[in-house]
Symmetry: C2
């Protein structure tokens, strides 16, 4: 297994990405506070470059790689935010990004990757086809594969969001993050533990894609295949590395229904006037459904991204 | 005619509302800068209390009124943001707000007014019915009428948005604001002139509701009846007071098409990840359509509000 990144690595990542990534704002909302019965501090990664926290990990990785490693560019397979983030980070680093995308990926995501200069290879929409095609691309180009979450540099990058949040609002009782592959959650947990041992980190997952919930309780990885959730950023299962980190430093994982996710997304849009994608609404859903014992507490919430197809809204 | 408010009045208004209104953030967006060929600074009144700049004017007025004037509460007729803003400001001031609304007003607007404790009287959806019903309500309750824009206290309140913008970003070349009844535009022009005589104030109006554009060119008020525009906050015509101010201190007024408004709204949602209502998109539309000679300039843009019915989006 790869090494578990440390708090030190997250601090280094923060320095490394400072000139490239946005320091996103922390917003509050009285009416959501009232609904949740807690004081909420929203770290707005929907305002991050390329529209999601993913840019932090991609950027940290690109600026960690040696010139030799960058010679053939970087590559990944992704239908989502990691692809756009990697393409943008590669452009900023002056190298090429080869992105394998399923041919049924949303047009808006394809356009984003292409807009950042990513070189796209389409494949059949199965995990096997994605992995095979990626292997071919890597063989042909000599590109360095950058995994979307199961990589210590990526995890350290994602942790910088929580580092910034806790520098701005130091006295939080709890930090909430959504969990898919576990890169954001792992970085969040390491950053929070490094800032203060008192802060609890709780993950929230769609009940329809609950591999992290089950794995956490069973103490072993139980991947879920083809989960059906509107939270498109959270359909992946934990990796070996992220599972190990989460077992060691996350306090709890709870799940929420699809209806609760849509309702929470709508509340954030209506009350906060900001656009978040369904994955970002997952922790908010747990708050609004009172799934967490946070009454009267100060709670940080990582709003992971804001990339949605406006013509396909669930409301 | 009522007295024209001064820069001094706007500074007083800023002090008066400080404890109640949000100091809204100023956001920037690289991709919109590129599209407009200028450096844009967005004053985000969509994040203001009650979701629009209207709260500034309502709040300044409520906290300017004497106890005697407040005894019977305040009243207005409005189907839009002024109604919610007045209801909230009245609640904060500890008095009642009587709101006359057309019976076909959007449910979300009715719910907002009721949610802030406004006491609603419904009427037929004509201007005559609204005025007659308001007169009855005022007679019965002894409430003080607060006009949505043709009032110096309201105008001074609206001007505080530009005061804040220019305190934060002093060296702007141009400030853009949408124009409907002209309250926001009047306050913007007075605030900008007071801060620096070099700043140009340009108003943008839907071509489908272009009374301000025509009046400005003709040098006399030419109200438009029943204009049909998606920018629901800009369907009103200039008042006597706002017309006089605009003639004296606005540099130009340009118009934009409905298609350009919808496209601009969509761009802001997609790129900035913030929710703005169609009226807010009107100045952005002028920028994206190159209707303004602002190439390379530093341009402030007042994003007036963020109240939209999510189930009735134009895209």
């Amino acid at each position: 297994m790869q090494p578990i990144p440390t708090f030190h690595d997250i601090r280094h990542a923060a320095e490394r990405i400072r000139a490239h990534a946005h320091r996103t704002p922390v917003l509050t909302c009285d009416s959501l506070n009232r609904m949740a019965g807690a004081q909420l501090f929203f770290k707005c990664e929907n305002f991050q470059k390329a529209g999601a926290f993913k840019f932090r990990g991609a950027c940290n990785t690109l600026f960690s790689l040696s010139k030799a490693e960058l010679r053939g560019g970087v590559a990944t397979h992704s239908s989502g935010n990691h692809a756009a983030a990697l393409a943008l980070a590669a452009r900023l680093r002056g190298t090429r990004a080869f992105i394998v995308m399923p041919q049924d990926a949303p047009k808006v995501k394809i356009a984003a990757v292409a807009g950042y200069g990513g070189e796209i290879t389409f494949c059949q929409p199965t995990l096997e086809a994605r992995e095979t095609t990626l292997a071919e691309v890597v063989r042909e180009t000599g590109a360095t594969f950058v995994h979307p979450y199961n990589d210590p540099r990526v995890i350290a990058g994602q942790g910088t969001a929580t580092l910034e949040l806790l520098h701005e609002i130091p006295d939080l009782d709890v930090v909430l993050a959504p969990v898919g592959g576990g890169g954001l959650l792992s970085g969040t947990a390491i950053a929070a533990a490094g800032m203060s041992p008192k802060i609890k980190v709780i993950a929230v997952e769609p009940a329809n894609a609950d591999d992290a919930f089950r794995s956490f309780r069973a103490g072993k990885r139980i991947p879920v295949e083809h989960p059906d959730t509107i939270a498109d950023g959270l359909r992946t299962s934990l990796g070996e590395l992220t599972f190990a980190i989460i077992m060691g430093s996350v306090h709890d994982i709870v799940t929420v229904s699809e209806e609760a996710i849509v309702a929470a997304m709508r509340h954030v849009w209506e009350r906060m006037k900001i656009i978040i994608e369904p994955s970002s609404a997952v922790p908010v859903a747990a708050l609004l459904e009172n799934k967490l014992a946070v009454s009267g507490k100060r709670v940080g919430v990582i709003l992971s991204g804001g990339n949605v197809e406006l013509s396909k809204l669930p409301f």
